[in-house]
């Protein structure tokens, strides 16, 4: 008989995720992923001024802050047919890149690393050997024996205090941990360093958007005016700070994140064959270099890889009412015309209708409705979205940069291409795209500087700020690539008000419950087959779940 295990709360993620698993013979045989919190943001933005909506939907998530604001302003601009000045596009790109780098590093060190790194084992590491290890993989300066010795002492004091704080009751000593003590100590050191670095890179958001989390956006452009001869505007000093932060970010990613990722991965190559799950990968693409309307100019290309076929990229169209649809047959919602047909987001409905067990409960009714997430499908197919999808679509599009970083990493680890379709592949893809993004950000920076040099300081397209000029009815879609994957917002504007607003979010794609045909989404299908050494301490499940970087506030909204 299969044994039911429940993980709730799943921690080191954003939001409230619950997974229920059937385990048999030391392997997961079935899995149910459930989002247990809802706010109804789609209902709340109704009837509001479309120019304000970005602020509401930005608060869908504070971990991937900015991405919903970006999707929102784009949806309004798309509905009304507006272009934004090039400076605004570049500034938005720079904010996008900073967000992605910060989010990925925080995910790797603070949300994911403890699945692979045993903090307690670090106590027994030899600081000199740790220093040697660190210096052998990177030229990062903080790697002396003294540095690691001090850190170890601090860690010892902490553990000896008996108050383990966030490390209390972790899976320390679990059989699935395989790193040598020295790698663990290095991991802990970089855990703390990453914690300090992540607050630096987001200063770029503060410069352009006033604060982080939740910087300001503006329909029609960006609010920060450029004036290189004014104290009160974006001037040489502010731009120099951006440059410094971008340089430091690239250094951190190249000298800390990537070497750590490769070092850790080399001990867990078996995870290149676990957690693959779905075989379809979707990316909307982003980072325009020639205006958002020119999709071919995107650094992240748009498209779909079906059935792991890397020789073809299938096009995707957010406006085609037959492509993307959301289903609710297993979700706590009701559609006015029955619960089995899907709805394109422009026709989307959000009517909360809980039908799960009455709390407190021990188990969900997994054969009925069991989640607050809707279930998105592309032409009826479940899709994985996220860094891996972006890397695969980029790879399949034949872009050289992608081929380069992917081949280099596969070579270093000495694993086949097939290892990409796995838990390890997902985690590695996040690091690899961080490298690309760190370089692109510097390109965008240079483009911004040369624009300003050429006398272009425009940051807002004025024509559309005035609602008097708006058509009585308009529809738009704003697409982007959030750190966790393909994100789009659909808006219907009537009489200058938001008449309908629907978000289909990366974690909605990945974490959703089954569709009416019983097809699993990404989390559920990737968990099937996961080995479980100790059902009481399901560390392996956390590894695969964390490889998606779950965000449930996003997924449900």
């Amino acid at each position: 008989m299969a044994n039911r295990i429940v993980i709730d709360p799943v921690t080191r993620i954003e939001g409230h995720l619950r997974v229920e698993l059937e385990v048999k013979d030391g392997k997961v045989v079935d899995a149910y992923s459930s989002g247990t919190m809802v706010r109804g943001i789609e209902l709340i933005v109704k009837d509001r001024d479309p120019r304000d909506v970005w602020a509401f939907v930005e608060r869908v998530c504070g971990v991937c802050t900015t991405v919903h604001a970006l999707a929102s302003v784009r949806s309004v601009e798309d509905a009304l047919g507006w272009q934004i000045p090039q400076n605004a596009e570049l500034i938005r790109n720079l904010m996008f890149c900073s967000q992605m780098m910060q989010d990925h590093v925080v995910h790797f060190y603070h949300l994911h690393a403890l699945d692979w790194v045993d903090v307690v084992s670090a106590l027994s590491a030899d600081p000199v050997a740790t220093s040697n290890l660190a210096q052998s993989i990177s030229s990062w300066p903080k790697s002396s024996p003294g540095y690691f010795r001090d850190l170890q002492k601090r860690l010892k004091g902490f553990v000896d205090s008996g108050q383990l704080g966030i490390f209390a009751n972790g899976y320390w000593g679990h059989k699935a941990y395989k790193l040598p003590a020295e790698a663990n100590l290095m991991g802990v050191a970089h855990y703390l360093e990453a914690l300090e670095w992540q607050k630096e890179i987001v200063k770029i958001h503060a410069i352009f958007g006033g604060k982080n989390p939740h910087p300001n956006y503006l329909v029609g452009g960006v609010a920060c005016a450029i004036n290189i001869n004014e104290t009160n505007a974006l001037n040489a000093e502010r731009l120099a700070q951006v440059k410094q932060l971008l340089d430091d970010a690239r250094t951190f990613i190249e000298q800390v994140y990537i070497p750590d990722l490769m070092a850790i991965a080399s001990f867990y190559k078996d995870w290149g064959a676990i957690g693959g799950g779905l075989e379809n990968y979707l990316a909307y693409g982003d980072l325009p270099t020639n205006g958002y309307s020119d999709v071919s100019s995107f650094k992240f290309p748009r498209g779909i890889v079906m059935g792991r076929n890397l020789n073809e990229v299938v096009p995707v169209d957010g406006k085609d009412s037959e492509q993307i649809k959301e289903f609710i047959s297993r979700s706590y919602y009701e559609y006015s015309d029955g619960n089995d047909a899907g709805r394109h987001p422009w026709e989307g409905e959000t009517k909360l209708a809980y039908s799960g067990p009455k709390p407190p409960y021990d188990f969900l009714n997994v054969d009925q409705k069991y989640s607050w997430l809707k279930t998105p499908r592309w032409k009826g197919n479940p899709m994985e979205v996220g860094p891996l999808s972006r890397m695969l679509v980029g790879f399949a599009s034949g872009k050289a940069e992608y081929k380069e970083v992917v081949t280099e990493a596969l070579g270093k680890l000495n694993v086949p291409v097939g290892a990409l379709f796995s838990t390890l592949g997902r985690t590695a893809a996040r690091g690899l795209e961080s490298r690309l993004v760190a370089n692109w950000a510097l390109e965008f920076y240079d483009m911004l500087i040369s624009n300003i040099k050429n006398g272009d300081t425009r940051t807002v397209n004025q024509e559309f700020r005035n609602p008097e000029t708006w058509p009585a009815e308009a529809k738009g879609v704003g697409m982007t690539e959030a750190p966790r994957g393909a994100l789009a917002h659909w808006i219907v504007i009537k009489d200058r008000k938001t008449a309908n607003y629907q978000l289909v979010v990366p974690s909605t794609w990945n974490a959703s419950p089954r569709d009416p045909n019983g097809q699993r989404s990404a989390y559920e299908s990737s968990l099937i087959g996961t080995p479980i050494a100790d059902p009481e301490n399901p560390l392996e499940v956390l590894r695969t779940i964390h490889s998606f970087d779950p965000c449930l506030a996003c997924a449900v909204h």
Binding site: A55, V106, I166, Y171, K199, G209, W372
Partner: protein, 372 residues
């Protein structure tokens, strides 16, 4: 409290700091939380003798931006807070343990530190439909909050969600999202509003409690005066432009490029209490106004329903998104004018006789008289 726990001084000693470093740290800490130099000795005493206080951080109906903001703090940095100053025994965002292991860590900390721990709450509590809109570990947010609050020494409401309900409580509040002060009572409660609050402000509140063992002085709405006693407008560096009458009229216009005041494009600085103008964001890098966008009032209760954000005053509920008091007022004024004109015409017709009478027959009054 557990005997094995150590004071800040012991922590520092273990880390190899000298007594002198420690005293310097206390002086700096004292300056940070604003005590007179004569009060520093009490900080020293507090740091010497206090164990790392147990802290439990609940995550309810939230976007987790408050946690994110907390890890952005630069004085003190967050690693120092959670490794040296407090014992953060439960926080879903960062803790290693999950599921049953996490629940066990929570239960143990509550039991060991009953009556002593500090409860930090991020997110609101949806009370609609018996709380099914937010469940954790099979229990509703309300159940979990009430349980955890019972043994807490003090409660901090992080951000606008816990303090005021925030975005999910905006009209029509589909899940009946409720701020925590309406759920728990009988405990000292500090509201730290903001969407999110500034990281250093969050750290500052914790440092204050830690160093003095008391909660900071609060204003009438339960916010620490140290960070919420001034409006953004009162500490805004664009204020001279406001006083001079130099305003931005549209984003990216000539005046925007000169950094004029953002009042006319909707800045809520004049009605918002927060430390943004002084502490600023992200280690003092900037704040909304400095980056050209008006304050949207993110630390005020119900600010979401006070839009649209790009006009000076909110529009009146029920009158459509662009109707301000002035449009309504002007309408009433015109209506009154029209009404009066009509009245005048009718009067001339219906009271013709009376009027004629007066005009024709009024006679000289018969003597002066004082009307009392």
């Amino acid at each position: 409290m557990d005997e094995t726990t150590s004071s800040v001084w012991e922590e520092m000693k273990n880390k190899g700091y000298s007594r002198r470093d420690f005293l310097k740290f206390c002086a700096w800490m004292g300056a940070f939380i604003g005590v007179e130099s004569t009060g520093i000795s009490s900080v020293v005493r507090a740091m010497e003798t206090k164990k790392r206080p147990a802290v439990i951080w609940l995550h309810l109906q939230e976007c987790t931006c408050c946690s994110e903001s907390f890890i952005r703090t630069s004085h003190p940095i967050v690693a120092d807070i959670i490794l040296d100053n407090i014992s953060l025994d439960y926080t879903e965002t960062l803790q290693a343990a999950a599921g049953h292991q996490a629940e066990a860590a929570l239960a143990k900390s509550m039991k060991d530190n009953w009556g002593e721990y500090i409860l930090l709450v991020e997110g609101s509590v949806p009370t609609g439909e018996d709380g099914v809109y937010c469940c954790i570990g099979g229990k509703t947010a309300e159940m979990r909050l009430k349980e955890a609050a019972e043994g807490a020494k003090a409660v901090i409401a992080w951000g606008n969600c816990a303090s005021n309900g925030c975005v999910q409580a905006a009209n029509p509040n589909p899940t009946t999202a409720t701020p925590i002060h309406k759920i728990i009572n009988g405990k000292p409660l500090i509201k730290v509003p903001g969407c999110p609050p500034i990281g250093e402000v969050m750290a500052g509140v914790i440092v204050h409690i830690m160093a003095f063992g008391t909660i900071p002085q609060l204003d009438g709405q339960g916010r620490p005066l140290a960070f919420y006693s001034r409006r953004v407008h009162d500490t805004c560096y664009r204020r001279p432009n406001y006083d001079a009458g130099l305003f931005v009229e549209e984003f990216d216009d000539e005046n925007a490029r000169k950094g004029y005041c953002l009042y006319k494009v909707g800045c809520r600085g004049p009605v918002t209490y927060n430390a943004c103008g002084v502490t600023k964001w992200n280690e003092g890098t900037s704040f909304p106004i400095q980056s050209g966008h008006g304050c949207i009032g993110c630390s005020e209760a119900d600010f979401w329903d006070h839009g649209p954000f790009y006009q000076h005053l909110a529009s009146f509920p029920g009158f459509g998104i662009e109707t301000t008091a002035d449009k309504i007022g002007l309408g009433l004024g015109v209506a009154t004018g029209v009404g009066i004109a009509a009245h005048a015409v009718i009067t001339n017709i219906s009271k013709k006789d009376e009027i004629n009478e007066h005009i024709e027959t009024s006679s000289v009054p018969d003597g002066d008289r004082e009307g009392e």
